[in-house]
């Protein structure tokens, strides 16, 4: 079989396709005109909270984090 074609620069830098696609989509959303821009950014907001576990017990959970780019 022929060898693989040259990988895209972002994959060579260690980025996956999903990360690349999400990055592009986010950039496009930030360039929209006003009502569409806030709708799009709100649509993509993700709420999550992380709690670390040590010795079989959860440590005190951190406060919830709002993150635009999921």
């Amino acid at each position: 079989m022929a060898s693989n074609a040259a990988v895209p620069f972002w994959r060579a830098a260690g980025m996956t396709y999903i990360t690349y696609s999400n990055l592009c989509a986010n950039l496009v959303r930030q360039c929209l005109k006003e009502p569409h821009r806030s709708e799009a950014l709100n649509r993509e907001k993700v709420h999550f909270s992380i709690s670390k576990w040590a010795k079989g017990k959860p440590e005190k959970p951190k406060s919830p984090v709002l993150h635009y780019y999921s």
Partner: protein
């Protein structure tokens, strides 16, 4: 009991209409038969297959339809559904690709760029952030994109500001990842820029 009887009669009438009958496929028939055997008194539920709209058959190589059917789907909405068009130009990674009815079946990865749909004299333009275009042999093109925005919704001043910001980020980037991100930013924004003017 009488209420149950009337609903059964109504639903039977609905199921026997010719349009519904055409949509039921062999798999659905098996399910319906099994249902009637085990629960004859209960109305069968609607299966996912009954909601499926039939697509034009992929069979004949002879007849090339005069128009393409285009489905544009993005992560939040189905932008276009079964739109008829003469030609579509998609921003594939290998360059702008024109798709006419009768195009060979293909799958192409899309880069950030402008999608133009030509229907008669009018052109509808969408900016696609990234995605894939599937062309089937029955002249149906499915375009799926993470974000597909009509070009009118793009704000030129944000694009210019972003271009300046990312050009600067590229020059100050140190790690491979930062350089890649800055490069991606530049690619997307320059594509946006040329779509606004082109």
């Amino acid at each position: 009991m009488l209420r149950r009887a009337t609903t059964r009669i109504l639903s039977h009438r609905r199921h026997c209409s010719t349009a519904e009958a055409l949509k039921v496929t062999a798999a659905d028939d098996l399910f319906m038969a099994a249902w009637k055997r085990t629960m004859p008194n209960l109305d069968p539920p609607k299966t996912p297959l009954s909601f499926l709209q039939p697509r034009p058959s992929t069979a004949s190589a002879a007849s090339i339809p005069s128009k393409m059917t285009i489905n544009l789907v993005s992560s939040c909405s189905s932008g276009l559904s079964n739109k008829q068009a003469h030609m579509v130009i998609v921003p594939a990674t290998t360059g702008q690709m024109g798709i006419l009815p009768g195009h060979v079946a293909s799958i192409s990865e899309l880069k950030p760029g402008l999608l133009s749909i030509y229907e008669g004299n009018e052109v509808t333009k969408y900016f696609i952030s990234s995605g894939f275009a599937f062309v089937h042999s029955n002249s149906v093109a499915d375009i799926i994109a993470a974000e597909a925005v009509p070009i009118e919704q793009v704000d030129p001043s944000s694009v210019q500001k972003g271009l300046a910001e990312f050009t600067q980020k590229l020059s100050t980037a140190s790690t491979d990842l930062e350089k890649a991100e800055a490069q991606i930013g530049l690619d997307v924004l320059s594509a946006l820029n040329s779509s606004l003017s082109g």
